[in-house]
C-alpha cells in the first residue's frame, strides 16, 4: 500500500517535480516533495525520468529538515540524461530511489568534530545538506569552480567559512584551482576532511592531504561521475 499522498505520486518511488530552479546557464536544482523521504545529510539518491530507461545518482542538496527534497544537477552538454531532466516542467514525474551511501557524519560527530569540506563544482551538494542540517557545525568549505557564478547558493554559508577558488576568473577568494589553495593551508591535526567532486580533483586533494601527514582514515571521498 502506498504511504504517499495520491496526488504526489503514482508509485512510492514516483515523485512530482515542484520546481526546476535555474542556478547558472548549465546548473539547476530539482525540487521534489519530501513527504516521508528520510535521509542522512551526505547521502545520495538515484533519479530517473518516468518512462525512461536510465537513472543517475545525485547527492541530496537539501537539509534533513527542509521542506523539499532537492538535488543539484549540472547539465552535460550533448548528454543523454541531464538535458532531458532540465526540460521537465513542474508537475512531471521522476523516479526516486534511496537514500544510499554513508558519506557524511553522525550527529554526535557533527557537534564535536572539526571539518574541512572540499568540493569541486556541484560536489558542493552534500555539504550544503550537511550545513543546513547541522547549523552549528565547525567547518571550512573550500569550493573549486571555474567561474564565480558557479558558487551555488554561496550566500547561505558563513562568509568566514566559505572559500571560493575560481580557476578562470579573479573573482573568488583565491584565484586558481582549489588544490593550489589547499597546498597553502595549514589544518589542525584532528581535522576530518570530506571530499566531493570529480575524480581528478579527489586524487590530487588526497595526495596533498597525505603529504601534509593526514591519515587516510581522516579523509572521506564521494566521487562524481
Amino acid at each position: 500500500m502506498s504511504l504517499m499522498k495520491p496526488d504526489l505520486q503514482m508509485d512510492e518511488s514516483f515523485y512530482k517535480i515542484e520546481e526546476i530552479r535555474t542556478l547558472t546557464g548549465n546548473a539547476f536544482s530539482v525540487k521534489l516533495p519530501k513527504v516521508r523521504f528520510a535521509f542522512k545529510a551526505g547521502q545520495h539518491i538515484s533519479l530517473g525520468i518516468v518512462g525512461g530507461n536510465q537513472s543517475r545518482e545525485y547527492s541530496i542538496y537539501s537539509g534533513e529538515n527542509d521542506e523539499n527534497l532537492e538535488v543539484l544537477v549540472k547539465e552535460v552538454e550533448n548528454g543523454y540524461f541531464t538535458p532531458q531532466l532540465r526540460k521537465l516542467k513542474a508537475g512531471r514525474m521522476v523516479e526516486v530511489h534511496g537514500p544510499f551511501g554513508k558519506f557524511g557524519m553522525e550527529p554526535e560527530a557533527a557537534k564535536s568534530g572539526k571539518f574541512v569540506f572540499i568540493a569541486s563544482g556541484t560536489g558542493i551538494a552534500p555539504f550544503r545538506s550537511i550545513v543546513r542540517t547541522y547549523p552549528e557545525i565547525d567547518y571550512q568549505l573550500i569550493h573549486g569552480v571555474r567561474y564565480a557564478e558557479e558558487a551555488y547558493d554561496s550566500h547561505e554559508y558563513d562568509s568566514s567559512r566559505y572559500i571560493l577558488c575560481t580557476s578562470r576568473e579573479k573573482k573568488g577568494a583565491y584565484h586558481g584551482r582549489l588544490t593550489g589553495y589547499l597546498k597553502t593551508c595549514a589544518f589542525a591535526p584532528e581535522t576530518h576532511f570530506d571530499l566531493c567532486g570529480n575524480s581528478s580533483m579527489i586524487f590530487d586533494a588526497l595526495e596533498i592531504l597525505r603529504e601534509k601527514g593526514f591519515d587516510r582514515d581522516q579523509i572521506h571521498c564521494e566521487v562524481y561521475f
Partner: protein, 445 residues
C-alpha cells in the same frame, strides 16, 4: 510436460534457479536437459557482462524459430537491465523479476492474456526488490545432495561504477534470520556438507533493517551456535562480501566456530587507491589491509580469495603495478581475474574504455602468474599434512576423484571412488602445484 532452464552468471542465479525449479515442478513440470524436449523454456539472465546477455538474444531467436513447429512458452528472469528488458518484452512470452516468482504459475496458466493496463503503466527503472522476501519462502529444489546455496540478502546499494547490479536487482534487502537458520538446520539434518550464504553484498546483511534484524556477525554467530550443538560436520561459506562493511567482529566470529569455514572471499577489484576511487568502491587500500591483517591475526590458517578487474578506465601501468604489489603482499590463494568490459547501465559505460584489449590480456596473464606463485607457496606448505576434504567430482583427464579442502583448495585423490562423493574424508597431501594439490585418502577421522 517438460521444462528446460538455462542459468547464466553467478551463484545468486544458481540459488534462484533452485526455487524456479521448485515452482515449476510443483506445477507438474518435469526438468529436462534437452531443450528440444521441453514445452517451457526459461533463462535466468546475467547482466554483469555482455557475453551472457548476447547468449540470451541468441537463444530466444532460436526458440522463437521453433515456435513455427511446436507450442512453446518462453520466459526470462534474473538480472536484467531496463533496456534489455524492453527488448525482451517483444521476444519472450513472459518476463518477471525474481520477487514475483510466486506468481509464475498464474502467468503460465494465463499466458496469452495481455491487459492494456499492464502495457501502459510506467515501470520503475530500478526494480522493486521489497517483495523478494516472498520468493525466499519458496522451498528450493537443490541441485546437489551435499552442497547448497542459501540466499540471505539480495540487491545492492553500493553503485560501483563498473557494475549494473543496483539497476538489475534493486536495493539491498535482507532475508529474515529465522528463515535462514531454519533452512541451514534442515540442510545439515539432510546431510549437506557445504553451505554457502549468498548475497550481492552478503556482509551488508541486516543493515537495511536499521536495528530490527541481527547483523551479519550476529547471523554467523547463530549459525556457529547451531553448529556446536549439531552432530554433523559441515562448512559454511559466504560470498560476496564488500570490504566497506567488513569488520573485525565478523572475523572474530569465524575464528570462534568450527562450522564457519576458514576461507574468506574478499573482492579487492584493484590494488590502486585511485582506481578504487574511480570504481567508487568506497574503501581504501588501508581499510583492505586492516581487514587482511585481522584475518591473518585471528585465523592464520584461513585461505584468502579475491576478485580483480584489470584494465579498468584509468588503470595505467603504475596503477596496475600497485595491484601486482597487493597480490605479493596479500598472497591470495585464488583470484577471479576479469578483463574490464564496459557494461550498459553501469556508470563507467559512459567513459572511454581506454585500455586496449592486448594490454588487458597481458595484465590478466601476468597477474595470473603472480597468483600461481603465491598459491603454490601456500599449497607446498601443506605437504605432508592430513586435511579434511569434501569429495565433489572427478578429474576429467585422470578420472581420479577430486575434492575441496575447507579452504576451497582443489585436491586430486589417489583413486576414483564414487562412494566417497559428497563425503568429507581425510587426505594426506603428497604433492602441491599451482592452484591445486594431490593426496592419498587416509582412513579414520
Amino acid at each position: 510436460m517438460k521444462y528446460h532452464l538455462i542459468t547464466l552468471g553467478c551463484q545468486m542465479n544458481i540459488a534462484d534457479s533452485e526455487r524456479v525449479s521448485s515452482v515449476l515442478e510443483g506445477m507438474g513440470y518435469e526438468k529436462t536437459d534437452n531443450e528440444e524436449d521441453a514445452s517451457l523454456l526459461g533463462i535466468l539472465a546475467c547482466s554483469v557482462r555482455q557475453k551472457p546477455i548476447d547468449k540470451v538474444y541468441n537463444k530466444i531467436a532460436q526458440w522463437n524459430r521453433w515456435k513455427n513447429k511446436r507450442n512453446l512458452i518462453t520466459f526470462v528472469s534474473g538480472c536484467l537491465l531496463p533496456a534489455d528488458k524492453e527488448k525482451f518484452l517483444k521476444t519472450f512470452d513472459l518476463i518477471f523479476p525474481m520477487s514475483e516468482l510466486g506468481q509464475l504459475p498464474d502467468m503460465i496458466r494465463e499466458y496469452g492474456v495481455v491487459t492494456p493496463a499492464g502495457l501502459k503503466l510506467p515501470q520503475p527503472v530500478m526494480p522493486k526488490n521489497e517483495h523478494i522476501v516472498s520468493m525466499w519462502h519458496i522451498k528450493p529444489k537443490y541441485h546437489s545432495t551435499y552442497e547448497a546455496f542459501v540466499p540471505i540478502q539480495n540487491g545492492c546499494d553500493k553503485f560501483c561504477t563498473f557494475c549494473a547490479v543496483p539497476y538489475t536487482r534493486g536495493r539491498e534487502v535482507s532475508r529474515p534470520s529465522g528463515e535462514i537458520i531454519e533452512e541451514i538446520q534442515n540442510l545439515v539434518h539432510q546431510g549437506y556438507k557445504s553451505i554457502t550464504l549468498l548475497g550481492q553484498n552478503v556482509n551488508s546483511y541486516g543493515l537495511d533493517k536499521h536495528g530490527r534484524e541481527i547483523t551479519f556477525a550476529g547471523l554467523l554467530r547463530q549459525i556457529g551456535d547451531f553448529g556446536n550443538t549439531s552432530a554433523h560436520e559441515f562448512w559454511v561459506y559466504f560470498t560476496s562480501p564488500h570490504p566497506q562493511d567488513m569488520n573485525r567482529e565478523v572475523i572474530e566470529v569465524i575464528a570462534s566456530f568450527d562450522c564457519l569455514a576458514k576461507q574468506i572471499h574478499l573482492p579487492m577489484q584493484s590494488g590502486d587507491e585511485k582506481v578504487l576511487i574511480k570504481m567508487n568502491r568506497r574503501h581504501s587500500m588501508d581499510k583492505y589491509r586492516r581487514i587482511v591483517a585481522d584475518i591473518r591475526e585471528l585465523i592464520p590458517q584461513a585461505t584468502l580469495f579475491t576478485d580483480i578487474i584489470v584494465g579498468f578506465t584509468g588503470e595505467g601501468e603504475a596503477e596496475y603495478q600497485n595491484t601486482v604489489k597487493a597480490f605479493e603482499e596479500f598472497k591470495f590463494n585464488m583470484a577471479y581475474i576479469a578483463m574490464y568490459s564496459p557494461r550498459p547501465g553501469a556508470a563507467s559505460f559512459r567513459w572511454e574504455d581506454e585500455v586496449s584489449s592486448e594490454v588487458k590480456k597481458d595484465r590478466l596473464r601476468s597477474l595470473s602468474e603472480v597468483l600461481k606463485v603465491c598459491s603454490h607457496d601456500y599449497n607446498e606448505s601443506l605437504l605432508g599434512n592430513t586435511l579434511r576434504v569434501l569429495v565433489n567430482g572427478t578429474d576429467r583427464k585422470t578420472g581420479l576423484s577430486t575434492g575441496l579442502t575447507e579452504g576451497k583448495i582443489i585436491v586430486r585423490l589417489d583413486r576414483h571412488d564414487d562412494t566417497l562423493m559428497g563425503k568429507i574424508v581425510n587426505v594426506k597431501i603428497t604433492s602441491a602445484s599451482f592452484l591445486s594439490m594431490s593426496g592419498e585418502v587416509v582412513h579414520g577421522k
